[in-house]
């Protein structure tokens, strides 16, 4: 561009060059102001339409400071929960802060059997979810001088006019330019969440992130009955190699005493993860419950290595129990004991709280769309 001669004197050329440098600096400044919007201009996410709007999304105008309950009710109602913001106030509203914390926004949907999932901090992921029909709850800083945190729900966008559509405070349809939206959104670290039915996995979900999210729902409902079977089935379908999904699905079948199905799921998991001590233990337990004690003991023989050391207590207990059962079945003298023993042996509740911190999908710099 500046290769073209602009004037006869070197002085003029110098001025043009200085102006050009200034322009470049300005562009760089812009890129820093709204890096992801700049990236979207040249790198629109593949498969995302240029225009979409979830117009059937319900709208609950907020009352004083209670944008959290209102925004949460919006996404929950869209996922099929019959709800209004009022009952959510006592679940996420913090009087002293006159607002709602992100963690509580994540926790509350679990009471309604919904999985809360935090999106990766990427504009592209937000657009992908909205395009897939999942309204996205975002945290914005709408303060002019001091930070002023606010929750709103993104329900559409239009590439041509560069606008984002939101349900926000008392306005059912706020139209914001991509740039202004990104400025408000980036202050909170591009925080965005969806609340999904357990069998509807977000299109942008990572395997580890979604599994953690489903486990958090399962933990909140230790008594079951929140569609966990559908949740694990869907997860296993999306990620056939997922070990927790297979174990979770098998445990759901086991809890319903659908032992043959549980054994099938575990056999497939064992084929894919031959070293997993959890699969070995659970498969042996299930086979033994089906009466195949010898096969169960054979399966237990496969346990070894570091994984088996961690679960050595469980594996030893399972082995001892199966050996006891098979001895009692072989010895004809004690059929009554067999019966008693069989009725005593109940599956132990899955142990909670033994999880390590979830591996949050922290996007590296290179994953972000490059600015021009």
């Amino acid at each position: 561009m500046n290769a073209r001669p602009f004037g006869p004197t070197w002085r003029r050329g110098w001025v043009v060059r200085a102006l050009f440098a200034l322009l470049l600096a300005q562009l760089a400044g812009c890129a820093q102001l709204v890096p992801q919007t700049i990236g979207l201009r040249t790198d629109w996410p593949a498969g995302v339409p240029e225009r979409t709007e979830i117009s059937e999304l319900p709208f609950f105008p907020q009352t004083d400071y209670q944008c959290g309950p209102a925004a949460l009710a919006t996404v929950l109602a869209h996922s099929g929960v019959a709800i209004t913001p009022e009952p959510l106030v006592s679940q996420v509203w913090l009087p002293s802060r006159r607002g709602s914390l992100q963690i509580e926004m994540l926790a509350a949907p679990r009471r309604y059997g919904r999985v809360s999932y935090v999106l990766a901090p990427r504009f592209a992921d937000l657009l992908r979810e909205v395009a897939a029909g999942h309204p996205v709850l975002v945290l914005q800083d709408v303060g002019l001088i001091a930070p002023q945190w606010h929750y709103a729900v993104v329900n559409g966008f239009d590439y041509a006019s560069g606008s984002i559509y939101l349900r926000s405070d008392i306005r059912p349809r706020v139209v914001m330019p991509f740039t202004a939206f990104e400025r408000s959104w980036m202050q909170g670290g591009y925080w965005a969440m969806v609340a999904q039915r357990p069998d509807r996995i977000p299109v942008s979900a990572s395997e580890s992130g979604w599994i953690e999210a489903v486990l958090a729902l399962e933990r909140a409902h230790a008594d079951g009955g929140v569609g966990m079977q559908a949740a694990w089935t869907a997860a296993l379908q999306r990620w056939p190699n997922s070990l927790p999904a297979a174990v979770g699905l098998a445990n759901q079948h086991y809890a319903r005493r659908e032992l043959t199905v549980a054994a099938e799921v575990l056999r497939e998991a064992h084929r894919r993860h031959p070293k997993s001590a959890v699969v070995i233990n659970n498969l042996a337990q299930t086979l033994s419950d089906l009466g195949h004690h010898a096969v169960a003991l054979q399966v237990l023989q496969n346990a070894g290595g570091e994984a088996a050391q961690v679960f050595s207590v469980e594996l030893a207990a399972t082995r001892a129990q199966i050996e006891l059962r098979s001895r009692q079945e072989i010895s004809p003298g004690a059929p009554a004991v067999t019966k008693t023993e069989a009725s005593q042996v109940q599956p132990v509740q899955p142990r909670r709280g033994a999880r390590k911190a979830p591996r949050r999908a922290a996007p590296s710099a290179r994953e972000r769309p490059a600015s021009p």
């Binding site: 209670q66 607002g99 800083d141 958090a216 959890v278 570091e306 899955p350």
Partner: protein
Amino acid sequence: MLRKMVCQTLIASLLGVSMQTAGAGMIGADRAVTASTQAHRTLVLSVLDRADTSAALQAQGIDPAQARERVAVMSDQEVRQLASDINSAPAGADVSVGGVLLVVAVAAAVWYFVFRR
């Protein structure tokens, strides 16, 4: 009151642990995510964290029963995180007019002192 509750919960959970250790059975999906060697210790810490977080919520004006319910649906990591930064975490609220008024006041002051002379 809180201490007593924590103790009772801890005793109950420890009993639960010992029973689980003694019995054979199915291992939960949560333990398939990762193999923790310190399962029991983590469990006890989790109970403590939950009591802590519940107390932190109560200090913010939530009644005890509601605070416990709110903590009950959190994951272990969320519980730990909330207890540590309940005062610093952003709390999404309303769009207030305070900021607008401040801007107007500053603009008026600038106009008065700079341009009116």
